[in-house]
């Protein structure tokens, strides 16, 4: 039905997809698996015409096709639920379900559209008021509206890019059964997911991507859970992650208690000792990212108590954190990690007042300091004057860590996704850097949606599900299966709560 050959796509210096070929048969549900940054979403966006490939061809029903826009993709019978929701918050549920649908005529207020929308929602076993603005729905509810939009598209090829990230098991099962019904009617489906359980419960076959390349495609009946994980990782643990070295144990730490963010995080507490890497593990939407952001002072509605080395750190003020040497590494470098200025200005941004004399900046001192810290994070000092946006993902990430150097005494680094969009080589360097910070006595508190990374780098793991802490694992007790169970299907009484 669909055949893609040699699809290639680069973003700047990052090769996101390298000569990936795959095909899909009528009535087939194909799982697409891979780590973060493996190229899954890029591949799906290419098929949907949201981005254009640098090379390669796509055939549908034996005809070569150029898919240059989502409208063209729709014409060819494709429909997609993107990873980031594509609903217009100001529009109603009804309008969002039909938004962009080619079947809708110019005068679109017709009863049959209301009926079909209701039917689609009923199939998902939900009953939203069709005239309610989408902005009043929760993320999970929105995800179901998005699926309803997919259902009314009458598409032959459906793409679902991690559609279940914020949903409960019951809701997920409803979506899966809706997909099975579509399959029975002859639709083919690409199903991108992190949850291996879903692969085995709904998919006929699975394609594994790694670092932008196709690794393998197998029928689900021929492959076990363990094989699949092995295919996804494809490298040994030990090379990647430096072992923790013994450090002076100090009583000092970053202690967070009763952190509360309305609607997102509930009564969360964590202790992150100096010289160790503490990791909050949770799925997208579980609240781990919000915990780090609120500790960084970026969530005004957050309440709770933060104590650093015995002294209170007030909520909310970023400037006060900078003075206590608390640095934040964002999960989205383009949005709130980098300035569109050169490397030197980026690494020194928070410390300018330290380099003034009589109110005027000393550029010589500033450059000296910038060179010094760039060297420490292994960033090419010849590129001090290069715009930060022209660096590779790995170098950009190192730049964010460089900001944490300096100041009086060891500080705190709050990290969301330490290696997102970073190639394998630079990843190993960043992990080494994290250990170096530990040696210097920094507190490292991080989140990651990459489970393998969580297990490889952490000294302590706190699992999180739907805004609440589930369990806490010390180094020797860190175990992939237990953590995975915690963050997807928490069962039994939480050991932390007691």
């Amino acid at each position: 039905m669909l055949v893609a050959r040699q699809l290639t796509k680069s973003f700047g210096q990052v090769e996101a997809l390298r000569e990936v070929s795959l095909s899909l048969a009528p009535g087939e549900i194909r799982g697409i698996c891979g780590e973060n940054g493996a190229g899954k979403s890029t591949l799906m966006k290419l098929l949907m015409g949201i981005i254009r490939p640098d090379g390669g061809t796509i055939e549908i029903d034996g005809q070569a096709q150029t898919i240059d826009s989502p409208q063209r993709a729709q014409q060819l019978g494709l429909a997609m639920v993107a990873q980031e929701l594509s609903l217009a918050p100001h529009l109603s549920v009804l309008d969002n379900i039909w938004l962009g649908n080619r079947a809708v005529p110019l005068f679109h207020r017709r009863d049959k559209f209301r009926q079909r929308a209701s039917e689609a929602l009923r199939l998902l076993n939900v009953d939203y008021d069709l005239d309610r603005p989408v902005r009043t729905l929760t993320m999970g509810e929105r995800q179901l509206v998005e699926i309803a939009r997919l259902l009314v598209r009458d598409a032959r090829i459906l793409i679902l890019d991690e559609p279940t990230a914020t949903l409960s098991d019951v809701e997920i099962e409803r979506i899966l059964s809706a997909l099975r019904a579509l399959k029975a009617k002859g639709s083919s489906i690409f199903y991108v997911t992190h949850r291996l359980g879903e692969v085995f419960s709904v998919c006929d076959s699975v394609t594994v991507l790694r670092n932008g390349a196709h690794v393998a495609t197998r029928p689900v009946s021929d492959i076990g859970r363990h094989d699949l994980i092995e295919l996804m990782l494809g490298r040994s643990f030990e090379q990647m992650y430096p072992p923790p070295e013994p450090h002076k144990s100090t009583p000092q730490s970053l202690t967070v208690s009763n952190l509360h963010i309305p609607g997102a995080v509930f009564n969360f507490s964590v202790v992150a000792p100096r010289g160790e890497i503490t990791c909050i593990a949770g799925q997208v939407g579980a609240g781990a990212v919000s915990v780090i952001r609120s500790l960084a002072g970026l969530v005004p509605e957050a309440t709770g108590t933060i104590v650093l080395d015995g002294t209170m750190l007030p909520m909310g003020s970023v400037a006060k954190r900078v003075r206590r040497n608390v640095a934040f590494v964002s999960e989205d470098r383009g949005r709130d990690g980098l300035f569109r200025r050169n490397v030197l200005e980026n690494v020194t941004a928070a410390r300018l007042p330290e380099f003034t004399r009589a109110g005027l900046l000393s550029w010589a001192k500033l450059r000296h300091f910038g060179t010094e810290i760039c060297r420490r994070v292994m960033l090419d000092t010849a590129r001090l004057e290069t715009s930060a946006f022209n660096l590779s993902g790995g170098n950009q990430q190192k730049l964010l860590f460089a900001r944490a150097f300096g100041g009086k005494g060891p500080g705190v680094i709050l990290i969301n996704e330490p290696t997102r969009g970073v190639d394998v080589g630079a990843r190993a360097e960043i992990y080494r850097l994290l250990r170096e910070f530990c040696q210097m006595g920094y507190v490292l508190l991080m989140t990651s949606s990459d489970l393998e990374e969580v297990i490889g780098i952490s000294d302590t793991v706190v699992t999180m599900y739907r805004g609440k802490a589930v369990n806490r694992y010390e180094r020797s007790r860190i175990d992939m299966a237990a953590i995975l169970a915690d963050i997807t299907h928490p069962t039994g009484v939480s050991r932390m709560a007691s």
């Binding site: 400037a319 300035f339 941004a349 300018l352 900046l361």
Partner: protein, 300 residues
């Protein structure tokens, strides 16, 4: 981009010098005095643009009101008080806008439009739309003169540019302003003092606009609210033509100086070539469009 800018400027200069009578005194002097008034306002506008707040529609009104205030104070209590008073006025009126924009992230364009209406409204309330004439001209007339053939107004403009560039290059405030303009959310996550910096950038913009108002008052020996109408547009045109991108986060006072001079030179050359005043508007407009389009290719 830098080389291209250089080539364009060189070509412009050659064209100007080859134009008969360009180098003769009267046209040059006229050029420099006109450039100075717009230039001071453009220097103020540069702060706003660099900080990521696009432009202000209220600087022209602020300059006119400052000219009025300057003349009134000059008649009442002498030059020093008049000068200081109008600068404080400009900084205050514009600073209030900066306060709302910096701390609440109110839309800078709407705020400046509202301020524009309010300033004209308040001025017509307080002055009854009258023109006030300078009674004695002593010190202030001195500023209308020349030193070695160069108008003093232009020297003041150069001083403003130097001051502005020093602020941008060598103070924490200036560097923070560039950083904030280049990434608001990043600045927030890094803990830069956004509200204070944006507020200060507007204060400076207001002070510089007030200086251009004072220059106007000195040149015409009067103050009235019709003096600086539409100067906002000339000022932002100069900033953009000089090469400061409207997205903010980059730019300099030197570029604004170049922009002001380039537009003025073109204007004089066009006049000397027999094109009437009206062509200046068209050429300026096209130039701004061209610069904006050229910059699209080099989004960093």
């Amino acid at each position: 981009m830098t080389t291209m800018r250089g080539i364009v400027l060189a070509a412009l200069l050659v064209w100007a010098v080859l134009t008969p009578s360009f180098l003769s005194m009267p046209s040059l002097t006229a050029l420099l005095t006109t450039a100075s008034v717009i230039g001071c306002m453009a220097a103020g506008m540069t702060f706003i643009t660099i900080g990521g707040n696009v432009m202000s529609f209220a600087l022209g009104a602020t300059a006119a009101a400052s000219a009025f205030l300057f003349t009134a104070l000059l008649n009442a209590s002498g030059f020093a008080a008049a000068f200081a008073g109008s600068l404080v006025f400009g900084g205050l009126v514009t600073g209030i806008q900066g306060l709302v924009i910096g701390s609440l992230r109110a839309n800078p364009i709407i705020i400046s439009i509202a301020a524009n209406i309010l300033i004209y409204g308040a001025a017509s309330w307080l002055t009854g739309n009258e023109t006030i004439y300078a009674a004695s001209t002593g010190t202030s007339q001195l500023l209308g003169g020349t030193i070695g053939g160069v108008p003093i107004e232009f020297l003041i403009f150069l001083a403003i540019i130097t001051l502005g560039q020093t602020i941008l290059s060598f103070t924490v405030f200036g560097r923070n302003l560039l950083l904030i303009g280049s990434g608001w959310t990043t600045a927030e996550a890094t803990g830069l003092p956004i509200a204070r910096t944006v507020f200060l950038s507007y204060v400076w913009a207001g002070v510089f606009a007030a200086i251009s108002g004072v220059l106007l008052a000195i040149r015409y020996n009067q103050g009235n609210m019709a003096l600086a109408v539409q100067y906002d547009y000339d000022a932002i045109a100069a900033v953009l033509v000089g090469g400061t991108p409207i997205q903010g986060g980059d730019g300099s006072m030197i570029r604004t100086l170049v922009g002001v001079l380039a537009i003025s030179v073109i204007q004089v050359v066009l006049l000397l070539h027999g094109f009437e005043e009206e062509w200046r508007h068209l050429v300026t407009g096209l130039l701004v469009l061209l610069v904006v389009i050229l910059y699209s290719g080099q989004r960093i």
